[in-house]
């Protein structure tokens, strides 16, 4: 193995020089076709290639949940998914939540409940919560806590986040008839 430089902690993709592969996928509803490095993670594809900087890298190892996106309806940590694995997939990122310049109910409730301070973990929390509410419009506290157990927040604390998801679920049921 080459030891030229230790890029283990680099937070952007380092080109491998391997032959590119073509992937075709939907990102926030838009069809995307790209030739990509086979060693690139889905996270780096979203950030470096698609310039969708909402999805964050923190631990890079699936522990913290900051990079959570929805892949084919399921919340996944995009740092440990290869971009090539997303060929044919439908990806939703935090950028896909607001519609026509208006924040979604879930985002509004995160603000209303003070469920963020620095905001670095917030896109991950939003996408984990979105995936939950898409499958279960009326989750119990325990179900919300379980689904968010893979998302870490180091400043707000989890109670306002739990409240935000609950009130968002209530509003979505009432306002969107879910």
């Amino acid at each position: 193995m080459s030891n030229e430089k230790d890029c283990s902690m680099y937070t952007e993709h380092v080109e491998s020089g391997k032959r590119k592969v073509t992937i075709q996928l939907k990102v926030n509803g838009h069809q995307v076709v790209r030739d990509i490095d086979p060693t690139m993670s889905l996270l780096h594809f979203l950030r470096d290639d698609q310039k969708l900087f909402g999805t964050k890298e923190a631990c890079g190892e699936g522990e913290c949940g900051a990079c959570t996106v929805i892949m084919n309806g399921k919340a996944v940590t995009s740092c440990i998914v290869l971009a090539v694995e997303a060929d044919g997939a439908e990806i939703k990122t935090v950028e896909g939540l607001a519609k026509n310049g208006k924040l979604s109910i879930l985002q509004e409730e995160f603000i209303a409940e003070d469920a963020l301070q620095c905001g670095f973990c917030t896109p991950g929390f939003l996408m984990s919560s979105r995936a939950l509410l898409d499958h279960n419009p009326n989750p119990s506290d325990e179900e919300i806590i379980e689904v968010l157990s893979g998302n870490l927040c180091r400043c707000t604390g989890y109670i306002p986040i739990l409240r935000a998801v609950k009130t968002a679920a209530e509003r979505e049921r009432k306002e969107l008839g879910r």
Binding site: S16, E61, G62, A75, S149
Partner: protein, 283 residues
């Protein structure tokens, strides 16, 4: 990541097997929750990544009466958490699956990956061990079946030979009226590897099966202790006796998660609790 690899996603087993023997630096990708971390930390030098998720054999999730439940190598852990069939027939397996890592990781991590990774502290092996799970292995020269308790050979080591692939596991059908449970201790609720995990199963004929993780270089099936418990007959008294006896059957070490002494203690506590739970008495 220093690894420079090609990615291949075969659509039939023959293609996959040809690719697997291409190079000793070929690594199998299913959920990727371990592989991607090894790549990122530069702990492996991969030249080829073989993604097995599109092989039909790996997508199987099928219960056949008399034969049991077969789970392909692409089946993710949350499928087990959500399965009413697993909840009803293999409660210990369902509980172990629900305890594994975080929700997002369970959407990617596979049952078979948790076995093949052969971590001494993996949650699923104790539960799968008590149900006499069989590992279905395919190689270029044919297929073979290995009992799960003979599959692990050491820390991160298994009986798998180069060019062999685990396509699925089969969990034999349990008998009506069985009980089973998986109890684990971790440093915090949620996302942590087990300090100790104990699976126990009680058959209608009074026979007990025990599986345990994080107390030896491999997950263990405690055959000798099971025999002693079954001979004595499972009772509150036997549960108390077994909690004392278990220290003679395990070899825990001290690491970042726990001291060896605490592991011995918790193995004893969890075993007693598990056996009492099988008796319908919460410990």
């Amino acid at each position: 990541m220093l690894s420079r690899f090609d990615y291949f996603k075969p659509h039939n087993l023959n293609e996959a097997m040809q690719y697997l023997v291409k190079d000793e630096k070929t690594f199998v990708l299913a959920g990727g929750t371990d592989l991607m971390i090894l790549l990122r930390r530069n702990l492996i030098d991969a030249r080829h990544i073989l993604d097995i998720k599109s092989l039909p054999e790996t997508q199987v999730f099928e219960f056949v009466e008399g034969a049991g439940l077969t789970i392909g190598a692409s089946v993710v852990v949350n499928k087990i958490v959500d399965s009413e069939l697993v909840k009803a027939k293999y409660p210990a397996f369902n509980e172990a699956a629900a305890a594994l890592a975080s929700f997002q990781l369970r959407n990617r991590a596979t049952v078979v990956g948790n076995i093949c990774n052969a971590s001494p502290g993996a949650d699923l092996p104790p539960a799968l061990l008590v149900f006499d799970t069989v590992v279905n292995i395919v190689g270029l020269n044919g297929s073979r079946q290995v009992k799960l308790h003979e599959f692990f050979t050491g820390v991160k080591r298994t009986v798998l030979q180069p060019g062999e692939l685990v396509v699925s596991i089969t969990i034999p059908e349990p008998e009506p009226g069985e009980k089973s449970t998986y109890l684990r201790q971790a440093r915090l609720r949620g996302h942590d590897l087990a300090t100790v995990g104990v699976a126990s199963r009680l058959k209608p004929d009074g026979k007990v099966a025990l599986g345990i993780c994080a107390v030896a270089p491999t997950p263990l099936r405690l055959f000798a202790l099971e025999d002693q418990i079954s001979q004595r007959g499972l009772s509150e008294e036997t549960a108390v006796w077994a909690a004392q006896e278990i220290k003679n059957h395990i070899r825990p070490i001290t690491d970042v998660r726990s001291s060896a002494a605490y592991r011995l203690h918790m193995a004893s506590v969890l075993l007693k609790r598990g056996l009492l739970k099988l008796l319908g008495k919460e410990g």
